[in-house]
């Protein structure tokens, strides 16, 4: 029989027990809920502000399919896809960062450690130089470049399984090589192609519409379902290979599955919007500090990612309006502030 109530075991924090389904720690649940509501509130704010100001009440009416046709056009057709993309890509980036930080047991772990973004940039340069420009061509180039790089790093780092530290070192080496390849391309190619690639390299949600929302939603949704299917295995892997294996986790296969999911999540985000830095890096750490979960937790990281990206994208649109900044510029600035805060905090702690 299912029973809900406080735990009979002292877990050192407030936990709601729903037998036999699971245990829900109260603090992380409240933080996730608050982050989700904050992200939605920023979303409504983003829907109501712009060249045409629409009162929030009218925004909600337009979302419900009521109100004036002009408002519906602006809110639903023009602004809503961008807000949804910010939420979805924020979730993807937060989850991806959490996976890589847990696997490498390193707070600086991020999808970048496996060289994905540098490789994606190389792919974009190759496509713009040799094939042509256009949103889907560029997205395809980014996907192929990023995935090929990630696969190369994994194989080069493989030695009786993949250790987090080896992955980081090999990832840095491969990224450095590809970084110089990218530089060479930018110097050699014509200005127009270099400019197109550079604009992509900023990472931006400008000009994206429903055509991008649908594939992104399907991709992120499917990956979340797969991730859910793996249950708490990521947390078990964090305890070390032997401990995880002793508890019945197939360490190497599971780690590879998580790497693939993490890379696929960042691939969806990068293909859709270009490289958006720092969200994957900062979201899991900020979420952990707020929720005080043991180790890196997936759901709070996703909620934090969605919050950070919706906030950043709204700032990117409104901070210097009517000039639209690429959201990547804002996330880099936020990342800088985050590192500053981290350094000050650690300095104080010592």
């Amino acid at each position: 029989m299912s029973r809900t109530g406080a735990s009979g075991v002292d877990f050192g924090r407030r936990v709601v027990v729903v037998r036999p389904v699971g245990r829900l720690p109260v603090r992380p649940a409240v933080v996730c809920l608050a982050l989700g509501l904050a992200a939605l509130a920023i979303g409504v704010l983003a829907l109501s502000t712009g060249e045409l100001s629409i009162p929030p009440a009218d925004v909600l009416r337009a979302l419900a399919g009521e109100g004036s046709g002009a408002y519906r056009l602006v809110v639903v057709e023009w602004r809503l896809p961008r807000v949804l993309l910010a939420l979805l890509l924020g979730v993807a980036l937060g989850l991806s960062g959490a996976i890589f930080q847990a696997l490498t047991r390193n707070p600086l772990g991020s999808p970048d450690v496996i060289g994905f973004n540098t490789g994606a940039y190389t792919g974009v340069l190759v496509v713009t130089v040799y094939v042509g420009t256009g949103y889907y061509l560029v997205a395809a180039g980014a996907l192929v470049g990023g995935l090929a790089t990630a696969a190369a790093v994994y194989l080069l780092a493989f030695k009786r399984g993949v250790q987090g530290f080896r992955l980081i070192i090999v990832g840095i080496a491969v990224s450095a090589v590809l970084g110089s390849v990218n530089q060479w391309f930018i110097i050699k190619v014509n200005l127009q192609a270099a400019l197109a690639a550079a604009i992509w390299g900023q990472g931006s949600l400008n000009g994206l519409g429903w055509g991008q929302v649908v594939p992104v939603a399907i991709g992120v949704g499917l990956l979340c379902v797969v991730l859910l299917g793996y249950g708490p295995r990521l947390a078990l892997l964090e305890m070390g290979e032997d401990a995880a294996a002793a508890l019945g986790v197939r360490v190497e296969a599971t780690r590879l599955a998580y790497l693939i999911i993490g890379v696929a999540l960042i691939a969806v985000a990068t293909a859709a919007a270009g490289p958006i830095s720092f969200v994957a890096l900062a979201a899991p750490q900020l979420a952990q500090r707020l929720t005080r979960t043991p180790g890196i937790a997936l759901v709070p990281s996703a909620a934090m990612g969605a919050f950070l990206l919706t906030l950043s994208d709204w700032l990117a649109q409104r901070a210097f309006a009517p000039t639209q900044l690429p959201v990547g510029v804002v996330t880099v600035s936020v990342g800088g502030l985050y590192f500053g805060w981290l350094l000050i905090r650690q300095g104080r702690a010592q």
Binding site: S7, G8, V9, D10, F11, G12, R13, V17, V18, R19, P20, V21, G22, R23, R105, R160, L228, G229, G231, P232, A235, L236, E238, M239, G240, E241, D242, A243, A245, A246, L247, G248, V249, R250, Q288, R292, T293, P294, G295
Partner: protein, 263 residues
């Protein structure tokens, strides 16, 4: 629940540590594996616990190849305390112990009454109930090791393997941990296999001792009959006398000394 190795060859990459090794772990008893450094005792334990796949031969759990059985199914039958595990930052004792229930849980069945009962019992058996809500990072080495043992106990497996469980513990905690193992073995019939460094502790607490040297098993049996000065000298190259432990009557190894202590 039987555990045995059949003609296994084990090692890392191209380096072979043991060849054609056979071992039947006695059911319901406390087995200690002893031997000098680098004799392959931990490697054997890793193979028995399917952390290391044998290069040849097979490890049988209940007569079936351990490597071909589902990982979670094996984890419900065989528990292991590895040499090194990492407690995630900020994890509470009960939370860590509860992770031992993973092999019994399903995706939408993560915390049953049986899970809770197992965690409560494991913490009580290891004496960490009072520490339940404390953070593992803040505990002493001895307390931390007891928490890890509690996690293995929460797994509720009929076989428990321990890889050098007493390393890093002071003498009092070593004795406490080994007596806990003996109690579990006697009260619940759990088959215990431990890699131990201290010969006297092995003789005292284990009822079956496996003696290894250079990758081979040179002798095994009841410590009171097999542990002799000749065996210890042959295996460790250490001259010694064997006397009866005045406390338990089990063999006590007294190394010979060439140094005469000045008064």
């Amino acid at each position: 629940m039987s555990l045995s190795a059949r003609d296994i060859t084990i090692g890392y990459d191209r380096k072979t540590i043991s060849e054609h090794l056979d071992l039947d772990v006695p059911e319901g008893r406390f087995t200690a594996i002893i031997g000098p450094n680098a004799c392959g005792k931990s490697t054997l334990l890793r193979a028995l616990s399917r952390l290391l796949k044998p290069q040849a031969g097979e490890v049988l759990l209940d007569g079936r190849d351990i490597g071909s059985r589902p990982a979670k199914e094996v984890a419900r039958r065989l528990g292991l305390l590895p040499q090194s595990s990492i407690a995630p930052d900020g994890i509470a004792v009960a939370e860590l112990v509860a992770r031992g229930r993973f092999p019994h849980q399903k995706l939408i069945r993560q915390w049953s009454a049986a899970d809770e009962a197992a965690v409560v019992a494991a913490m009580a058996a290891t004496g960490v109930t009072e520490l339940s809500g404390e953070l593992v990072d803040t505990l002493s080495g001895g307390q931390r090791q007891r928490v890890w043992v509690a996690m293995v106990l929460a797994q509720q497996t009929p076989i428990v393997l321990l890889d050098e469980p007493t390393t890093f513990l002071d003498i009092a905690h070593q004795i406490e941990l080994l007596e806990l193992c003996v109690r579990l073995n006697r009260e619940q019939g759990t088959t215990m296999v431990a890699v131990l460094h201290d010969l006297n502790q092995a003789c005292r607490y284990a009822d079956h001792v496996v003696v290894m040297k250079a990758g081979r098993i040179v002798e095994q049996g009841d410590p009171r009959t097999i542990v002799t000065a000749e065996l210890i000298e042959g295996v460790f190259g250490l001259g010694c006398r064997i006397i009866d432990d005045p406390e338990t009557g089990t063999p006590l190894v007294i190394p010979r000394s060439s140094i005469v202590r000045l008064a």
